[in-house]
């Protein structure tokens, strides 16, 4: 069943433009690819290449959310089981390192650089994401 409404897809489109513009700005000005998992990983775990710009980028991401939620109404916190968040977060982190990127690095920058690796990564994580939601919500029927 499709549930498309202007109220949801216009912010999605405009938000997508802003995300795209920020990736373009980071490449144009600093020559860097906006891959969030790679930036966060290097910031926290790479002792040889711990650069200040990564800290400021991550800080910016958090402050962006802070200013947005301070000026707009954000949807209430989604009720989820802590175990799903822990297991999910762990796999997101582990998988992003193993696969060399996440939704931003592969999904936006990599696809725009016409990387076949990124195309494969996006197809695979979309498929396993869809499969996971299917199993969790339609077979196991867990009420998240």
């Amino acid at each position: 069943m499709l549930e498309v409404s202007l109220e949801s897809f216009i912010p999605a489109l405009v938000g997508g433009w802003l995300i795209g513009l920020s990736a373009v700005a980071l490449l144009f000005l600093n020559g860097r690819v906006a891959g969030v998992s790679g930036i966060l990983n290097s910031l926290v775990f790479d002792r040889k290449d711990r650069q200040l710009w990564r800290l400021l980028f991550v800080l910016g991401l958090i402050l962006g959310g802070f200013f947005f939620s301070a000026t707009t109404v954000v949807p209430p916190e989604y009720p989820a089981s802590a175990w799903l968040l822990i297991a999910g977060g762990f796999l997101v982190g582990f998988g992003a390192r193993m696969g060399g990127g996440c939704t931003s690095g592969h999904g936006i920058c990599g696809l725009s650089l016409l990387s076949l690796r990124s195309l494969v990564a996006v197809i695979v994580f979309m498929l396993t994401g869809i499969l996971t939601v299917y199993v969790l919500h339609h077979i196991v029927g867990a009420s998240l």
């Binding site: 433009w17 954000v74 977060g89 796999l91």
Partner: protein
């Protein structure tokens, strides 16, 4: 110095864009992945919108010999379709489906003050660390 200012401003814009787009709401993400249920396709417009911008402008940017504030472009060089790529992306998708969070929105929603995003970010860092311990042994 200039590069640091750029990183902060780019992060702010990215975080604002993620918040506006709906990617920071796990209910929407799970609805987007739930193609067999009440599928919510609106998040396709996030990726579509971002790719409209980057798909066109990356080409112009990369015609330059160097970035504006740095000496060279630092682009990914790996072109190999490895088992690691497939397994890693597969696991990433499972985690995304379980939690409804990917890394950018998890960080951004820390700014909303949600406990859930603290749990996800800490678990994600644990995932990075586990990968480092298992696969990135010191030579």
């Amino acid at each position: 110095m200039k590069q640091c200012a750029v990183a902060l401003l780019v992060g702010l814009l990215f975080g604002w864009g993620l918040s506006l787009s709906g990617m920071t709401d796990p209910a929407r993400v799970i609805g987007f992945l739930d193609v067999a249920g009440h599928w919510d396709p609106s998040l396709l417009f996030v990726m579509g919108g971002a790719l409209m911008v980057t798909g066109v402008l990356f080409r112009f940017v990369l015609r330059r010999s160097s970035p504006f504030f740095a000496s060279e472009f630092q682009l990914p060089v790996n072109r190999i379709l490895s088992p690691r790529l497939l397994c890693g992306s597969g696991l990433f998708g499972v985690g995304w489906g379980l939690s409804g969070y990917c890394p950018g929105p998890a960080l951004t929603s820390l700014g909303f003050g949600f406990l859930n995003s603290v749990i996800v970010v800490c678990s994600m860092l644990a995932g990075f660390f586990a990968h480092k311990v298992i696969f990135e042994q010191r030579a």
